[in-house]
């Protein structure tokens, strides 16, 4: 029994340790973003904001680049999500029908894309050949379909009772009618799951933008953030005067903390609402079908 207490203690300690390790940096960044540059640089911030100020946030909301990035990301996410959901459902429904001739062939066509891909350059050449460089399409089209999402949707469609289909047939409703009038109205949960998976993916990724966009009025938020948070690191050494350096570093650090908060808050605000859909999606996906 004594080892059992120890074991239980270990599990609890493990759990709390990680909860704190994960939560603390998030709280720290949040507090630092509201503190004065001086407090940040001199290391006075530990847990709560010191000498609270909104300076950094004012700077961010007056920065045209960040605002353009926000707007672009909203457009890409909305448009890309709609395209993803439509393509996924259109592919998943026929694949879920038992009497669909060619089901095996089309399924393998899809599975093969999970195993093997043409790679960066061949894909780039196709996008370029289609004239999509520096357009919205380069962001919303190339990653619109994920085999994983299709399988989740197909599993869901298969789980609908077959009697529905028989009833449609008796009522003389065609396959199209069955899909649009019977199946789709029943599919809100799966549409939500796929839309959320795609939306979070589109909002958070920067790879397609890095490769296909060079026009900075088209940059999504993540590229703007990269310029500020990661590439912005370099210019500090150019300042000679130490005091000026400290102030400059302080302000730029403060800005970075605030940018991190502004960029994460929209997703983290929705996260408690969408978490259960994510969990549900993962569950459906893990059932083999």
């Amino acid at each position: 029994m004594k080892t059992d207490v120890l074991f239980q203690g270990f599990l609890q300690a493990f759990m709390w340790f990680w909860a704190i390790v994960i939560l603390y940096p998030l709280i720290y960044v949040f507090s630092a973003s509201f503190s004065s540059p001086h407090a940040v640089v001199s290391g006075q911030v530990w847990l709560w904001p010191v000498e609270p100020t909104f300076k950094a946030y004012e700077a961010i909301f007056n920065n045209p680049q960040i605002m353009i990035g926000f707007r672009n990301s909203l457009i890409y996410t909305a448009l890309g999500t709609v395209i993803s959901v439509v393509l996924t459902l259109l592919l998943a429904f026929p694949l879920s029908r038992p009497r669909f001739v060619g089901r095996g062939f089309f399924t393998w066509m899809l599975v093969f894309t999970m195993l093997f891909s043409g790679g960066l350059i061949p894909t780039y050449m196709v996008i370029k050949g289609l004239g999509m460089l520096n357009t919205w399409w380069a962001i919303v089209l190339p990653s619109a379909l994920s085999a994983w999402n299709v399988f989740i949707a197909r599993t869901y469609f298969k789980s609908l009772p077959e009697e529905l289909y028989e009833a449609s047939t008796i009522d003389g409703i065609s396959d199209l009618g069955h899909f649009f009038r019977i199946v789709l109205p029943l599919s809100t949960p799966i549409v939500a799951v796929i839309a959320l998976f795609s939306a979070v993916g589109l909002w958070n990724s920067y790879f397609n933008a890095l490769i296909y966009l060079s026009n900075d009025t088209l940059f999504p938020l993540q590229i703007v953030l990269r310029n500020i948070l990661i590439l912005g690191n370099i210019d500090i050494s150019m300042v000679q005067n130490f005091d000026a350096m400290v102030r400059k570093q302080g302000l730029s650090d403060l800005l970075k903390y605030a940018v991190i908060v502004v960029a994460s808050v929209p997703v983290l605000l929705f996260y408690p609402l969408i978490q259960r859909y994510f969990v549900r999606g993962m569950m459906i996906g893990s059932i083999k079908g």
């Binding site: 493990f14 093997f116 960066l120 350059i121 061949p122 920067y206 960029a263 996260y271």
Partner: protein, 307 residues
């Protein structure tokens, strides 16, 4: 004759369900354009590409690029770095979500369980750019909170982002920080499905908590564990581009250049399309082989492969 009637019924089915083909046409067109046309372009890996001639007309040069990849120091370096990152991630990162899931599953207090699950799951939704930006801030040698705590405990500040020897550790542990709660969700669901009768029987037989977890819970989630292990092995050579590229700087490049970033630099920065395609192809082929092999092994040992 039999064959004839069979194909006859198939044809009838096709005709009766022609509308399904209408539905599937658009996504199949997408697959062809964005997946299969690039696969056709992979022949570039065996050609001496010239822009004026195009992919099709450029002359073949066989396996020349693959020889270069395997004989130059930079080629071998990126392969080694990729393998180090993925095996380190796998070994360090695989068991932790399982332990977290078991710990959460053993926590009877609902509020505590929900809160900790929420907290550990949250970083998954932070974008890679923000994550790496956060790492730069938190791990900064002078101002970062991590080093300040470290100094308080009597240590010397460490330049985490600039030391090539630390690169893999920073990459892997930040990955665990971000993904542990997310990965634990699957195990939690598997644990919830472990038969309550078995649990009850173990309790009546006087099993300790540890014995119950070891003999009932773990075997119950073993198929899930093996399936995920297989999946992870299959993707050993596909370390993602986004995070590594953001973490790269001239100081740590010797250990942070991996296949994905090398493909990008050779192809789009140096505009050596053919060589870049060859490196990518090498990576894809290894991935296919790994995934197929791993799946076979899983099917043999636990009857729980991916397909």
């Amino acid at each position: 004759m039999v064959n004839n009637t069979l194909s006859g019924t198939r044809w009838k089915l096709v005709k009766r369900h022609w509308q399904l083909y209408l539905l599937i046409a658009l996504p199949i067109l997408w697959l062809i354009i964005f997946c299969y046309v690039p696969m056709y372009g992979v022949q570039l890996a065996f050609k001496k590409y010239s822009i004026s001639k195009g992919i099709f007309e450029s002359p073949w040069i066989g396996f020349r690029y693959f020889e270069i990849l395997f004989t130059t120091p930079s080629g071998l370096m990126v392969i080694t770095n990729t393998l180090i990152l993925s095996f380190y991630s796998l070994i360090a990162g695989f068991p932790l979500p399982i332990i977290l899931a078991i710990a959460l599953n053993e926590t009877r207090n609902r509020l505590v369980r929900k809160s900790i699950q929420m907290i550990t799951y949250a970083p998954y939704f932070i974008s890679t750019v923000v994550l790496v930006g956060l790492m730069f801030q938190v791990l900064d040698p002078r101002l970062g909170i991590f080093n300040r705590i470290f100094e308080l405990l009597g240590g010397k500040p460490i330049n985490f982002m600039g030391d090539p020897n630390l690169f893999s550790s920073v990459y892997v542990w930040s990955g665990i920080w971000q993904g542990m709660g997310y990965s634990a969700v699957i195990y939690l669901a598997a644990l919830a499905a472990v038969s309550p009768e078995l649990q009850e029987a173990a309790r009546i037989d006087g099993c300790t908590r540890f014995q119950r977890i070891w003999h009932v819970d773990l075997p119950g989630i073993l198929p899930t564990i093996i399936t995920l292990l297989v999946l992870n092995f299959g993707f050993v050579m596909s370390v993602g581009f986004e995070k590594v590229y953001l973490m790269q700087n001239p100081l740590n490049l010797q250990s942070s250049e991996i296949i994905a970033t090398y493909v990008y630099k050779v192809g789009l920065i140096n505009a050596d399309f053919a060589f870049s395609t060859a490196i990518g192809l090498f990576n894809s082929v290894v991935n296919v082989i790994l995934l197929l092999t791993a799946n076979q092994i899983a099917r043999r040992t636990s009857d729980s492969g991916l397909w």
